[in-house]
């Protein structure tokens, strides 16, 4: 019975991640949206998490946090999608994930995304990209790719109007990998 109570609790908390069919078509044509392609070959590994949080529920959470955290509330109200894939990589998959990340890097470069964080060391490979509008006054999308030596990989795409100073708060509140490293990075 404890397990059931736990599940109901998990269920209610995770209910904030809702899919709204109405919003679905909107974000896929959004300049901040990125299709990561087929990741299914890596999703057979251990400790896999896939998340899709779409606009309607982000707004609902935003409205609910208005009084306690106006900055987070404002950010959430401007978002259309939070998409996360994280998984453990083993053996030869490590090289394949790295290749996938390199291809994605090239694609994002070609599509005028700006890389604002690049960590390339023997034990970590992390990039953070942002997509801005024409006059660079607004950030419309954010992508994080990450693979470390322990085999922990993450692909994150956030679509919508983004405030980089607030995005780290989103990372810590929702436990999204790597977002806490972004605060203070500008669009220069």
């Amino acid at each position: 019975m404890k397990k059931i109570i736990g599940l109901v609790a998990v269920l209610i908390f995770t209910a904030t991640f809702n899919l709204c069919a109405q919003d679905k078509q909107d974000y896929k044509n959004d300049p901040g949206y990125v299709d990561f392609g087929n990741l299914s070959e890596f999703l057979n590994s251990d400790n896999v998490t896939e998340v899709n949080i779409e606009g309607y529920l982000l707004k609902m959470v935003g409205n609910a946090t208005k009084e306690n955290d106006p900055e987070l509330s404002k950010l959430l109200n401007g978002l259309k999608l939070v998409k996360v894939y994280s998984f453990n990589v083993k053996g030869k998959n490590h090289k394949e994930v790295l290749e996938k990340i390199t291809k994605l890097d090239n694609r994002l470069d070609g599509d005028n995304w700006n890389r604002i964080v690049k960590v390339k060391s023997p034990d970590e490979n992390t990039s953070v990209y942002i997509k801005t509008n024409g006059d660079q006054s607004n950030i419309l999308g954010l992508v994080v790719t990450s693979l470390n030596d322990d085999g922990e990989a993450a692909f994150v795409n956030i679509v919508g109007k983004i405030n980089l100073d607030a995005i780290s708060k989103l990372g810590s509140k929702f436990n999204i990998p790597t977002l806490d490293s972004i605060k203070g990075k500008g669009t220069e």
Binding site: I4, T14, Q22, L43, Y56, T65, F174, N175, P177
Partner: protein, 186 residues
């Protein structure tokens, strides 16, 4: 005297019928999903627990909460929940249930067929959890379905109601405490 002896159990039985209407038996949709998922898991399960709480069953729960511990949070949450359906199924065979991608894709396909969309999936060598949601016609969150499976059992939980209100209340009262992604990133 004989009359009264007969009357009391009859009244109790009648009251029980009204009180527990909507209790115990899960609905056809839940059964269909359960059958599809058990089939997708690729091993033999038997039903351990399967029940639902409808309007009256939840009404009793509300009364118990009200009288026993006066828990404001539970009262407020229960107010917006109209139905809970729960099934627990034990793995009878020595075969491991299929945790990985193939089960998840099959489960997604079956759930989508029943109008559900997944929002969170977390799975590994020993356990999987998937959360599905449905909105009502006005776009409000009305139903949540959780699948939990480990080597020993499959647990299904469906909650229906005005879940927007439930979540808004929880966030306002408790703040955000979501733990869907792996703790290793903390």
């Amino acid at each position: 005297m004989m009359k009264r002896g007969f009357l009391i159990p009859a009244v109790l039985a009648l009251v029980s019928v009204f009180l527990f209407a909507g209790c115990f038996g899960v609905e056809g949709n839940f059964k269909n999903i359960r059958n599809d998922l058990l089939s997708a898991a690729g091993t033999r399960f038997h039903t351990d627990i399967e029940f639902s709480l409808g309007k009256f069953g939840l009404g009793i729960a509300k009364e118990i909460v009200r009288h026993e511990n006066n828990d404001e949070d539970a009262k407020e949450i229960l107010k917006h929940i109209s139905k809970v359906q729960i099934g627990v199924y034990k793995n009878r065979s020595r075969t491991m249930p299929e945790f990985k991608d193939s089960f998840i894709r099959k489960a997604d396909k079956e759930m989508e067929r029943h109008g559900w969309e997944s929002i969170v999936k977390n799975y590994g060598e020993r356990e999987l959890n998937i959360v599905y949601v449905q909105n009502d016609n006005s776009g409000r969150l009305s139903e949540i379905f959780v699948i939990n499976m480990d080597r020993k059992e499959l647990t299904l939980v469906e909650v229906s109601g005005n879940l927007d209100e439930v979540i808004t209340y929880i966030i306002k009262e408790k703040g955000l405490g979501f733990q869907y992604a792996s703790a290793r990133y903390r």
